[in-house]
């Protein structure tokens, strides 16, 4: 158990962070906290993915001195995928922040439950 925990230390840290971020995104009532949870969840997933490309004792996948022997470099594919992912997560963050600003402009609070109740009241007043 401890042996395999040590062997897989980076993925272990990544899934712990994933769970923390996931829980915050799902259950926290504060919108800004939710967004931070989302970012933590995403980066944790990317950390996991990056660790899959790592091979102990090898160099980054930038060809040096014309040496194209695959056993000298780490795997470039996960890095490429994570690069894509990072940009996705910053886009989503920007969108969520914009939504937060709009909601705060209208309801003056960040508490999603309270916003929900106020929106409901609003609806009933209109009727």
């Amino acid at each position: 158990m401890l042996q395999s925990l040590w062997e897989n230390r980076v993925p272990v840290a990544a899934v712990v962070l994933f769970a923390v971020g996931f829980t915050t995104l799902l259950l926290h009532r504060n919108l800004l906290k939710k967004i931070i949870g989302l970012n933590i969840m995403d980066t944790a997933a990317y950390l996991f993915l990056t660790s899959l490309g790592y091979i102990a004792g090898r160099k980054p996948p930038i060809i040096t001195d014309g040496n194209t022997d695959p056993s000298a470099y780490v795997n470039p594919l996960p890095a490429g995928l994570v690069l894509t992912g990072i940009v996705v997560s910053v886009s989503v963050t920007a969108l969520m922040l914009a939504l937060t600003v709009r909601l705060y402009e209208r309801y003056h609070t960040l508490d999603l439950d309270q916003i929900y109740l106020m929106a409901k009241d609003e609806e009933e007043e209109k009727r």
Binding site: L25, L38, V88, L99, Y107, E122
Partner: protein, 497 residues
């Protein structure tokens, strides 16, 4: 390689280009760009479909100079162009039929941006249908999520913004799980391309090694897509999302976007996990049970609702339940029934949303049932479209809904073990469906207590009439001429693997 094989790539790139250019255009021009685009995509899909039927086999299209598994690939047989063609036509009718409401709901300066989002949604739907690579699927899922949120929150109501936030939260949780599932699969197999993944997964499953992570990956990917498509018990973002957006967006989101995710799931079950592995894992039973629960709970919630849009939204949750029940039922017939129901729902729901919004419009903008008394007489076209849609949801003969229910029952008869619960669930849910749709229909056609008598007819909307006729014709044509369609689906499903 025939020229038609290039069409899927061209359709996707054309959608992306159109979305980029629409940001510079005026709203009217952008709307026309979207209309022409959807028509072109539908036409292209027909060509690809004809090619698929002629070949009788799936074509893999290499994206760039490098063969898979190094490069990306598209893959299309019969099913993908068929679904994409129907999606494009439905999108066209949504955009045309909901145009009046769009102009009411959205500020003039931002209307072209709405069409940017719609073009992007079409591009992502095509990419989700055609892609042969799991990570490409993830990237396009994210575009779809953001663009769907965009067409939702473009209406400036507080409630809509709140609905958009909740929609985003659940979608993001779904994409996070999907991503983690892909990572697990990649760590076990080292592949992202569907055919390579499938052989690796089958070998891994047979060897029995790393069973826990493999199950984990399958559960995470399935669960992620279930959350995004709104399977019970993850359906509670639906009523707000569909109920408070502009009708065109409601039609697109309920009819197309969630169906795109389900179609991707079917692709993944067939082309990544493999039918044998997936239907031995036990996940299908969970889907089956949740599907039935969704059918019943969604219908009961719809009965308790007193607003027409939210009622249709809850009915969507019930219909998603049907689709998952079919998926869980059996890999061959059940899945054919599920795909048929995807098409039924994609054609029927937008018609219901658009016509309901017309009915509300002619009743002074109030959404409560009480206000809708006799509304069908004020706008007969909307009344007809609503009636056809409702009857199709109930499952009356001559409509697509009837064929879908027949197919579900037919699939159940082949699965002795699940025969009784399936038939029971179908019966209960049909009764419940009938109850709330018939109630609404009687309400909109009953003129008792409405002054003046006869009710004043309001001016018809040519755009809406076009959309309504298109959707109704499609519905009834597919309902009457179901046999060739079912044959195509069966054939398409068999060459999907």
């Amino acid at each position: 390689m025939s020229f038609a094989a290039n069409i899927p790539l061209f359709s996707i790139v054309l959608c992306l280009l159109a979305s980029a250019v629409s940001a510079l255009l005026r709203a009217r021009a952008a709307a026309w760009v979207t209309r022409v685009l959807t028509a072109l995509v539908a036409f292209g899909s027909v060509l690809v479909l004809l090619m698929g039927i002629k070949n009788g086999a799936a074509v893999t299209y290499q994206m760039g100079h490098f063969p898979a598994p190094w490069g990306n690939e598209l893959r299309f047989g019969i099913l993908e162009p068929l679904v994409s063609g129907i999606f494009a036509v439905v999108l066209l009718s949504c955009v045309v039929g909901g145009n009046k409401e769009l102009q009411r709901d959205i500020e003039p300066a931002k209307q072209n941006l709405y069409f940017v989002m719609v073009d992007l949604i079409l591009a992502t739907l095509l990419a989700l249908l055609y892609t042969n690579d799991l990570f490409t699927g993830y990237v396009f899922i994210e575009i779809c999520t953001i663009a769907s949120c965009g067409i939702l929150m473009i209406r400036r109501l507080g409630r809509t913004t709140l609905a958009a936030v909740r929609y985003m939260i659940f979608s993001l949780i779904g994409s996070g799980m999907f991503m983690l599932g892909i990572i697990f699969l990649y760590s076990l197999t080292g592949h992202l391309l569907m055919p390579n993944l499938k052989s690796a997964v089958a070998a891994l499953w047979a060897s029995g090694e790393s069973h826990t992570p493999l199950m984990m990956a399958m559960c995470l990917i399935t669960l992620g897509l279930c959350i995004k498509s709104g399977l019970f018990p993850f359906h509670f973002w639906m009523p707000d999302t569909y109920g408070y957006s502009t009708p065109c967006s409601a039609g697109i989101l309920s009819g197309l976007v969630s169906k795109g995710y389900i179609f991707l799931l079917i692709r993944i079950i067939r082309c990544v996990f493999g039918v044998e592995v997936f239907y031995a894992s036990g996940i299908q039973t969970v889907l089956y049970v949740l599907g039935i629960a969704g059918m019943i709970v969604g219908s009961i919630s719809a009965i308790r609702e007193n607003e027409v849009f939210r009622m249709i939204a809850f009915s969507s949750a019930a219909q998603i339940g049907y689709i998952y029940m079919g998926l869980g039922l059996s890999p061959a017939l059940g899945t054919v029934a599920a795909i048929f129901h995807i098409l039924t729902h994609a054609i029927t729901k937008p018609a219901l949303f658009l016509s309901a919004s017309r009915l509300v419009e002619v009743s002074g903008g109030r959404k409560r049932f009480k206000a809708l008394q006799g509304a069908a007489h004020r706008d007969p076209m909307a009344g007809t479209a609503f009636a056809v849609g409702s009857l199709s949801m109930i499952g009356l003969p001559l409509t697509m809904g009837f064929i879908a229910k027949y197919l579900f029952a037919f699939a159940a008869f082949r699965e002795n073990r699940l025969l009784l619960p399936t038939l029971l669930a179908l019966a209960i849910s049909t009764v419940l469906n009938t109850f709330y749709f018939a109630r609404t229909l009687i309400r909109v056609y009953n003129t008792r207590g409405v002054t003046p008598v006869p009710p004043v007819r309001l001016r018809a909307q040519p755009g809406f009439a076009f959309a309504a006729i298109l959707l109704m014709a499609e519905n009834i044509a597919c309902g009457v001429l179901a046999q060739p369609l079912i044959e195509m689906l069966t054939k398409g499903l068999s060459i999907l693997e």
